[in-house]
Symmetry: C2
Subunit: 133 residues, 2 copies
DNA sequence: TGCCACACGTTATAGCATAACGCAATTGAT
DNA sequence: ATCAATTGCGTTATGCTATAACGTGTGGCA
């Protein structure tokens, strides 16, 4: 994967997500970046669109929020299907890349001649820390 | 699973979903039911809440829409994790219950001591019919 | 120079979901 | 029988999420 030269807005949004300890909604990002000149949702959504395209950010469909990708991007490393665990208490998100899941889903899709474009796997519950409390 | 005695509103919403050939958004359901006295979104959302609880309806997180469950509910049949294929062209949705996926996700969660509450698996792409066209 | 592609800023609007209030019907214990 | 608790319902208002449509500026390049 080539390095992507990010624009100022894209860097600001990525930074906001990278430094957050939980997923952020687009509007939360907007609020965090008002001091940097952000005024409108589109500024956030346009940056997110590119960051998603570059694989630097993930969208969590089940909670309408975004997280910075946990993987390195300084080498050619395309990862396939990613599953997420999302703690409903603390917001902690972990990424799981598992070939068993990936191959099985691929098989199931093929079986019904379905052409997969994008797969979402999100596991909501309670992380080790919060479940113990 | 016991039979659930549905209220009038719940029946209307379930009927609307059952007769649709694609997932419906809450507001689309509202429009379909205006002739039956529906006036406000909450009437739909409240019915959906119960139907989801009873397992008669599924929510598709990635498209903010709802479908009637494809399985029978006249016997004790609790199904576990369900994956959905969603055609982005025609809206066709199929439900996949697969023990390999289920067990693997369970294993992965256990491995990190994560307590799962709800799992979402949604595969978006093109169904056999639409992919051929 | 003229064109094109792209990022950006702004205003407005569309689409999805819930809070908060009050009323009516049902149930079930006293 | 009656009171309290629960549940469903209707309504108004509001909040959250996302995109349409328009115009500006800039950099690359034929």
């Amino acid at each position: 994967m080539a390095d992507h030269q990010l624009t100022r807005n894209q860097n600001l949004v990525l930074d906001a997500l990278s430094h957050a300890d939980a997923p952020l909604s687009a509007y939360t990002i907007l609020d965090k970046l008002r001091d940097h000149g952000f005024r409108a949702p589109l500024q956030v959504y346009r940056a997110l669109e590119k960051l998603l395209e570059f694989g630097l950010v993930h969208r969590l469909e089940s909670i309408n929020a975004f997280v910075a990708c946990a993987h390195r991007h300084d080498h050619a490393h395309e990862h396939g299907v990613t599953a997420f665990t999302i703690c409903e208490d603390c917001g902690n998100v972990t990424e799981l890349c598992d070939s068993v899941i990936e191959e099985r889903l691929s098989f199931l899709a093929t079986q019904q001649k379905f052409k997969t474009e994008k797969t979402t796997i999100e596991i909501r519950g309670h992380c080790q820390t919060c479940a113990a409390a």
